[in-house]
């Protein structure tokens, strides 16, 4: 069974500072990894995904993430945040599962709060 741990429930940061949101996963098979962002009163939007290939993945809005198989991590980073990045961020993992369903399991989320 797969699971996701987002180590920080809340991350406060000042505008233009760098940020890292941490995500660790557990799975017994090859994994696919995702980061989503959710703005207030909206659905989730895909930021980036790792399916295979390069372990450094670049996404929208200047975000990137690195897949580290030995540490079972997929941390999200941005070198310089903006006020508009204030939102809830969710890490998700999926595997082949029974019958290849590839159903993602989501973490509890990290609230990124950017201060001016």
């Amino acid at each position: 069974a797969q699971s996701v741990t987002q180590l920080d429930s809340q991350v406060p940061v000042f505008e233009e500072a760098p940020v890292e949101l941490r995500c660790n996963y557990s799975s017994s098979v090859s994994v696919y990894l995702f980061w989503y962002v959710q703005y207030p009163n909206q659905g989730l939007q895909l930021l980036l995904k790792y399916l295979s290939g390069s372990t450094l993945v670049k996404g929208i809005n200047g975000f990137e993430a690195e897949f580290n198989k030995s540490q079972t991590s997929f941390h999200l980073r941005k070198p310089s945040v903006h006020i508009s990045d204030t939102a809830e961020y969710f890490c998700a993992v999926s595997d082949g599962g029974s019958g290849g369903s590839y159903i993602p399991t989501f973490g509890r989320g990290t609230s990124l709060i950017v201060h001016p």
């Binding site: 989503y36 909206q42 989730l44 995904k49 399916l51 969710f90 369903s101 993602p104 989501f106 989320g109």
Partner: protein, 112 residues
């Protein structure tokens, strides 16, 4: 292009009633999944459909059911509503099973 559309956006129901939530996926997407999101938590998987067949079911009681229609739209039905069913219900579609999802804005269900 239209994204994933869900209806209604908000709904208030009384305990014991039944509710039907609707979802239209992005054109060409054959997979539809339903998630429940309680305030302050991540989305919890309820159902996945692909090509009109159920591909997965989460740890939810039999009061929850769903189906996918020939045009790939989907319905989520919940019977005998409980206060604990109050949540944001999200529908997501994808072109393939392993790709990322496109989510709708959700249906906010309040059970009183």
């Amino acid at each position: 292009d239209a994204g994933v559309t869900q209806s209604p956006t908000h709904l208030i129901k009384t305990r014991g009633q039944h509710v039907t939530l609707r979802c239209s996926p992005i054109s060409g997407h054959k997979s539809v999944s339903w998630y429940q999101q309680v305030l302050g938590q991540g989305p919890q998987f309820i159902f996945q459909y692909y090509e009109k067949e159920e591909r997965g079911r989460g740890n939810f009681p039999d009061r929850f059911s769903a189906r996918q229609f020939p045009n790939y739209s989907s319905e989520l039905n919940v019977n005998a509503l409980l206060l604990g069913d109050s949540a944001l219900y999200l529908c997501a579609s994808s072109a393939e099973l392993m790709g990322g999802y496109t989510f709708g804005s959700g249906t906010r269900l309040t059970v009183v």
